[in-house]
């Protein structure tokens, strides 16, 4: 089955009901996407599917046919957001961080505090109390453009993202 992962077209052979999470980790060699609960509650496995955040533990591989998937590895280099997660204490243990950064990358451009809170409500962090994450997102806000251009394969849907919500 064909899909685009981090800007690269791939043919992947896997059972259609295999979780996208496992396909990415095991078939595509991209272990940056983490499993925290396996029931779509913690958001650690968040990836962007055609630019919108989804919990990849609840997405069957078949549903990703022809789609553009962006994982943490697809954020080329060190975007402003990634940089800010380090300097502002947005990442502590780091296990929620890949999913959290992707969820943050999908926030509206000039997100208000309420929009940030709402947009991240599906991503649990047990270390930071979210405060460092908010600091990071606000600090990176002026540089958001550079982040978006670094999200390979998600570029065309940048405008849609503000209006779209988590799929489930």
């Amino acid at each position: 089955m064909r899909l685009t992962v981090n800007g690269r077209r791939r043919d992947v052979t896997a059972p259609p009901m295999k979780r996208l999470l496992d396909v990415l980790r095991e078939e595509c060699g991209l272990p940056g996407t983490k499993e925290g609960c396996g029931e779509g509650e913690c958001g650690a496995c968040t990836v962007l599917l055609d630019g919108a955040p989804v919990v990849s533990c609840l997405v069957p591989f078949a549903q990703a046919r022809g789609a553009r998937v962006t994982t943490i590895e697809g954020l080329r280099g060190r975007s402003a957001l990634q940089e800010a997660f380090v300097t502002e204490g947005g990442a502590q243990c780091g296990i929620c961080t890949p999913g959290m950064i992707l969820a943050a990358a999908a926030l509206p451009k000039k997100a208000t505090m309420e929009e940030i809170r709402f947009g991240l409500a599906g991503n649990l962090c047990r270390c930071t109390g979210y405060t460092g994450i908010y600091r990071a997102i606000r600090k990176a806000a002026p540089g958001r453009k550079s982040l978006e251009s670094s999200v390979l394969g998600a570029r065309s849907s940048v405008r849609e993202r503000g209006a779209r919500r988590r799929k489930q």
Binding site: C37, G94, T97, I116, C127
Partner: protein, 709 residues
């Protein structure tokens, strides 16, 4: 940053340098245990009891040769998880003492086949003990006494009594427990998500009857721990090692969320009773405290959790006549264990809600009551510890009250659906009593071509160990931060620096590293590292913990200096009650805390913010439904932890007050922040008019509690 006493000027310490593993964590390059794989690796699975108490009659299965099967008879050493007592088997042989107790281990190359495998455990159930108040078995009891209670109560104008209850809490690190065991060199190497490599090392040696050098433990990047990976990894590492040695292949065991919640340790539930004598001017004259903790089925760390709970039970207050009696008991529920705060959150929850009720009974301003009684420098705690200059109870209280405009809001919000409450608390850094002396921790510093490499068993689990240790060393050596490397906490390479627990990694291990760096600096003289290495060859400086001068402690009488130092905190909670659903929504949490000095202010703030959020969950949301000895809501769908929508704005404020024996004045910060929010929130709920005395303070519980009298 505000200051009680200014800290000395420094170049690296006190700066927000880039954290060592920061880039790896934000790019997905950081490798956690489930990201690792070894050639020929099998998957492991644990077959567990389905009843809370009974005797195993027979274990039946018809598994083919592709399965590796291990039971208690495969244990070559001694069948228990080595910790304090020798009571908890690694694999149950005959007796079942709790639901989800491990009985049999399976491994297979195909994960799906492994999960489909059926094993029947036939057992004869026995009546379980589920109520700690009716437990026939006490793991530990202790008494702390000071002054004379009778004369204290005789001097009181008023006696206030109350009972307070706190529930289980799941650590809920986002990365579940997991390890990989690799058989090699006639022994075993275990990679895993864990806090204490040398705890696992010791447990494996005893379980497998292997000498030191045959067992190696390497912590992987650890995705959160909070105490939940202090003692439990010794169990899961034992399981993986037994399977790996029998299969002669690497074996990975990673729990799914439900198994992690059902089987691993939680915060001890507690029932705490206070009886306090107070003079009409607000002075405490007598305090009698009784603590009962539910230890679960095995002793684990209950004895030391209990002792920290008891030492903190009278709160940060002067009271000439005090008695604390504490007991932890057995029930047929999964064993409770370490969780950030380690007993102190439970006992200080009770102390601070009780303090609020004393203020109510006296008709006194709650701030004034605390000001009158707060410990000052030179005062003695309940164990008779004379406090030093780094005692900041009054400073944190006054700053929190000023910053939140507490008194005005308290008046203005009375009778509305908004409430405001506060808590004053303290937390001892490091192991209790003589614990640090017994640990005799070591750490080492190795000279490199460009600087130095830290060799310590302290693990990185998000709190910033590597970064903070490197700052201390760089500052002391007078070299740039980037030239200090931090080696893996691999037991084959680093000395035993003790466990990464008890708010000790900065104050205790950091201090040892500072002493290593001081000696290294003296040895180097004017030579650069490269010159020194060329002239004299390799240099490794190893140092051992030294007790600060004048510290004394008696395990027999529980008298003396319980901790090297205490951090101090005052939290103010502002809450709102939804008039329709009755839910309490925190609006703002202000946490003013003094822990000597922040080595890295952003990391230290992160400890306050994260600990505060975790305590908000414990206070309002996190409700372990224990039914017939089994956690009935072992999933994130109905065990609720705070999301962004539940977490209020957190205003973390750091006060400086350097501690003479900490590295650059630092004390411990990891646990202090989790002690304060629950009582501050419940006191805010009391301000709303509810007689709240237990947590989680769910709408149902508040309705049942009814109005304050």
């Amino acid at each position: 940053m505000r200051r009680c006493r200014p800290a000395p000027r420094t170049r690296v310490v006190g700066r927000n340098v880039p954290r060592k593993e920061g880039a790896a964590k934000v790019t997905g390059r950081a490798r956690y245990v489930d990201d690792l794989s070894f050639p020929g690796m099998l998957w492991g699975r644990t077959i567990r009891s389905e009843i809370p108490r009974g005797r195993i009659r027979e274990v039946r299965h018809s598994l083919d040769a592709g399965f590796v099967v291990v039971d208690h008879r495969d244990i070559s050493g001694r069948n228990f998880v080595a910790l304090i007592e020798e009571d908890q088997p690694c694999l149950a042989a005959h007796e079942i003492r709790h639901f989800a107790e491990p009985i049999l281990l399976l491994a297979h190359a195909d994960r799906d086949r492994l999960l489909e495998a059926r094993v029947d455990v036939a057992s004869d159930p026995l009546e379980p003990v589920l109520d700690p108040e009716r437990s026939p078995k006490t793991f530990k009891d202790l008494t702390i006494a000071r002054g004379d209670l009778d004369s204290g109560f005789a001097a009181a104008d008023l006696v206030v009594e109350g009972e307070y209850r706190t529930g289980h809490q799941e650590q809920l690190y986002i990365e579940p427990n997991g390890v990989i065991a690799v058989p090699e060199y006639g022994g075993v190497t275990v990679y895993g998500s864990l806090q204490c490599p040398y705890y696992v090392h010791r447990a494996l040696k005893i379980l497998l009857a292997m000498p030191d050098e045959k067992v190696r433990v390497v912590p992987t990047e650890t995705g959160g721990a909070f105490g939940g990976k202090e003692e439990y990894p010794s169990m899961i590492a034992g399981h993986a090692a037994l399977l790996a040695l029998k299969a002669n292949r690497p074996v990975k065991i990673v729990y799914d969320r439900t198994e992690d919640m059902v089987a691993t340790t939680k915060r001890h539930p507690a029932i705490i009773r206070h009886r306090t004598g107070v003079a009409s001017d607000g002075r405490l004259t007598a305090a009698d405290v009784d603590i009962l903790m539910d230890g679960g089925a095995y002793a684990t760390l209950s004895a030391v959790v209990l002792s920290r709970a008891a030492i903190h039970a009278a709160g940060p207050y002067r009271c000439p006549n005090a008695r604390v009696r504490a007991r932890s008991v057995m029930t047929n529920t999964p064993p409770n264990g370490a969780f950030r705060g380690f007993g102190a959150p439970q006992s200080q929850f009770a102390a601070e809600v009780h303090m609020e009720r004393i203020a109510e009974a006296l008709g006194m301003d709650p701030v004034r009551l605390r000001e009158i009684n707060a410990l000052r420098s030179g005062d003695e705690t309940a164990t008779g510890q004379k406090l030093g200059g780094d005692t900041s109870a009054l400073a944190v209280l006054r700053e929190a009250v000023r910053r939140t405009d507490f008194r005005r809001k308290r008046r203005a919000w009375t009778g509305t659906n908004r409430g405001i409450g506060l808590s004053l608390f303290f937390h001892g850094s490091g192991f209790t009593g003589s614990g640090e002396v017994k640990l005799a921790s070591k750490a080492a510093l190795e000279l490199t071509e460009t600087g130095a490499r830290i060799l310590a068993a302290s693990t990185e689990m998000g709190q910033g160990t590597r970064t903070m240790h490197a700052q201390i060393v760089a500052e002391t050596l007078g070299i740039p931060y980037a030239r200090v490397e931090v080696g893996d906490a691999d037991t084959a390479r680093v000395p035993d620096s003790g466990p990464t627990v008890a708010s000790r990694t900065c104050m205790v291990v950091g201090k040892i590293l500072q002493e290593c760096a001081e000696e290294m600096k003296a040895r180097l003289g004017k030579a650069s590292p490269r010159e020194y290495l060329r002239r004299h060859g390799p240099l490794v400086v190893t140092k051992e913990y030294r007790r600060p001068p004048g510290m004394r402690w008696s395990d027999e009488t529980y008298r003396g200096d319980a901790y090297g130092a205490y951090g101090w905190g005052c939290d103010v909670a502002e809450v709102e009650r939804d008039p329709v659903t009755g839910e309490i929504r925190p609006i703002r949490l202000t946490a003013v805390q003094e822990f000597g000095r922040a080595i890295h202010p952003i990391l230290a703030k992160g400890q306050i913010e994260g600990g505060t959020a975790q305590a908000i969950g414990w206070a309002l949301l996190e409700d372990v439904a224990m039914r017939d000895g089994r956690m009935a809501n072992a999933q994130l769908t109905n065990y609720l932890v705070p999301t962004t929508a539940d977490t209020p704005a957190i205003d973390a404020v750091i006060l400086d007050n350097p501690y003479a024996h900490g590295p650059f004045g630092a004390k411990g910060v990891g646990e202090l922040p989790i002690d304060g929010p629950a009582p501050a929130i419940v006191n805010a709920i009391r301000h709303l008019g509810f007689d709240a005395r237990s947590i989680p303070a769910t709408p149902e519980r508040l309705l049942a509690a009814g109005p304050k009298r």
